[in-house]
Amino acid sequence: MANITKRKVGSRLKPYALITPAMIIFILFFIYPIVYMVYLSFFKWNMIGDMKFIGLNNYTSMFANSEFWVVMKNTFFFMILSVGLVILFSMLMAVYLHKNTKINNLLQSVIFAPYIISFVSISFIFLWMFEPDYGLFNYFLERIGISSVRWLQNTNTAMISLVMVSVWKGVGYNTLIIISAIQKIPSYLFEAAELDRSNKAKTFFKITIPMISPTMFFLVLVNLITSLKTFETIQLMTLGGPANSTKTLVYYLYEYGFSFYKIGYASAVGVVLMVLIGVLTVIYFKVLSKKVYYH
């Protein structure tokens, strides 16, 4: 009898034993930092001196800070514009390139290239192209008779310039994923639609889009989160400027944490960012998942 119970306990514990290594990593690198960040956000600390508990002061001063609200506005502007454009362009590219011809296979690899180049290299290339006096963009603008634009130095265009960079980098990856989703739609559905006298536009909106909706759902979510985390381009190209016009939450956090050494305040920003991503994800799943067709 005792023997049996022992064996039973052993077999109950086995699964836990098997996931322990993964759980250790998960706790060490995910749970602990999150908890520690929340903990830090209640303190005043400059990384060297003593930690001083100040309760919710970091939060209240943050929400009272007009700079924070500018940063929030920038973050959402960047997120909505870049995700919208990435999805739009990727969809157009995918529709154009989804047939597996030789030239399309080549083009598919070509448009994927930006995705594997690091943001640092891309930022430097674009920095040069955005250069007002001898950059490539202004060269072309002047050629077609439009006066040159001070891309990164103008508060109106700086954010749009950053959006251009991240869209350019993201389109290839998204396009490939959409292409594979389109190619997975069984061809008989298109044939049935053809027999149902559906024109090309209607087939696209009534068949193609609904059929790839799970993929689009995934891509929008991933892109939203990626865009919220954008950092390198801002750091290398604008440093959040001019006049805070390109400062997003992540950069704001970085600035407070590693330039001003206000670790508590930066942690509070981090908590806001985390909650923001969490809320977005939940809303997104709640609202949209019902409209998505899963096989």
Partner: protein, 346 residues
């Protein structure tokens, strides 16, 4: 009467490969239930898809109602197709599935509603209209596919093995429903299948294809009782016709037409007995029963002769045991074929 659909000298090849269909001509009569029958790869589905316009013919012309269809879009051919896997739009409800074609045809809302109501009543789908296809069983999906075709009131129904994904019982049931439907709608049905039972049970006309060529056309009765070649004889009937080489027969005096190379007879025309009957009005052999299968009303025997084995179907409630027996086939039940496997009419 002008044929509803006519194929003239159709050729079809897929880029670079030898043609699947070299030179195919056929006529499909109005209001017929025509079955394109043949083994897999014989070109029957390709033919159907060319009629639908989903596949472009490499050569030749397809006429529907006497009009050349070369530059007519599939949607404009006044046809509807039922696909093997139904091809329902998975993201739409059953109603939307049925309605999609009507909307594209710019049928008015009231009329759409009426027509959907009508077909869903006929096919017993009324209660499923707001569901998605994934929530339906195979048989129900099949009916939705039919409804989607019917609601457009096409002049021709094209069906590409629509029953092959259903279980045997459901297949029988839908077979019956299709026959009724054909009677009721009085339109042309073109039905592709590799299943001779399906073809025999539903068709008014069968077109038997092999390797892109027509082996025989005719009514089920005609094609069963009058096969023009060994291919037809063996394809139609279950089990198939027994075909024996003339050289297999012993020297016994057998009167056969000139040039006969093969002799055929249907399993159900075989008579077995323990010993040979006195008055021999047919050919006889000795053989041994190697298997017997009780199928209900009939018993199926496999009989090993000297060189070949044959099937015999006996309508009797008494099972003959594994034993040596005599086999007799009446003369009038014999079919003769020449060396090219074509029928010799005696």
């Amino acid at each position: 009467m002008t044929p509803k659909i006519e194929l003239k000298g159709i050729k079809k090849s897929y880029d670079g490969n030898p043609p699947v269909i070299e030179n195919l001509s056929m006529k499909i009569m109005p209001e017929s239930f025509t079955v394109l029958l043949g083994p897999s790869g014989c070109g029957k589905s390709t033919t159907l898809r060319m009629i639908a316009g989903l596949e472009q013919e490499t050569g030749g012309t397809i006429f529907i109602d006497g009009k050349d269809m070369k530059h007519v879009e599939p949607g404009e051919r006044n046809i509807a197709m039922v696909f093997q896997n139904y091809a329902l739009y998975p993201t739409m409800t059953i109603r939307e599935n049925i309605e999609f074609g009507l909307k594209n045809m710019k049928v008015e809302k009231n009329e759409r509603f009426e027509r959907i109501k009508q077909v869903s009543e006929i096919l017993g789908l009324s209660e499923y209209l707001s569901r998605k296809p994934a929530k339906l069983s195979g048989g129900q999906r099949q009916r939705v596919a039919l409804a989607r075709a019917m609601v457009k009131k096409p002049a021709v129904f094209l069906m590409d093995e629509p029953l092959s994904n259903l279980d045997a019982k459901l297949r029988n049931q839908i077979r019956g429903e299709l026959i009724e439907l054909h009677k009721r709608l009085k339109t042309t049905f073109v039905f592709v299948t590799h299943d001779q039972t399906e073809a025999m049970s539903m068709a008014t006309d069968i077109i038997l294809l092999n390797e892109g060529k027509i082996m025989q056309e005719g009514s089920p009765i005609e094609i069963y009782h009058n096969p023009q070649n060994i291919f037809t004889a063996k394809f139609i009937g279950n089990p198939p016709m027994n075909i024996l080489k003339l050289s297999d027969f012993s020297s016994e005096a057998l009167i056969v037409p000139e040039k006969t190379a093969y002799i055929g007879f249907r399993p159900e025309n075989v008579v077995i007995a323990e010993s040979l009957p006195e008055n021999r009005e047919g050919i006889t052999f000795k053989g041994e029963i190697v298997t017997h299968e009780m199928l209900g009303s009939e018993i199926l025997y496999r009989i090993q002769l000297e060189n070949e084995s044959i099937n015999a179907k006996i309508y009797s409630s008494k099972m003959t045991d594994y034993s040596q027996i005599s086999v007799m086939v009446p003369h009038e039940k014999l079919y003769y074929f020449d060396t090219h496997e074509n029928r010799i009419f005696s």
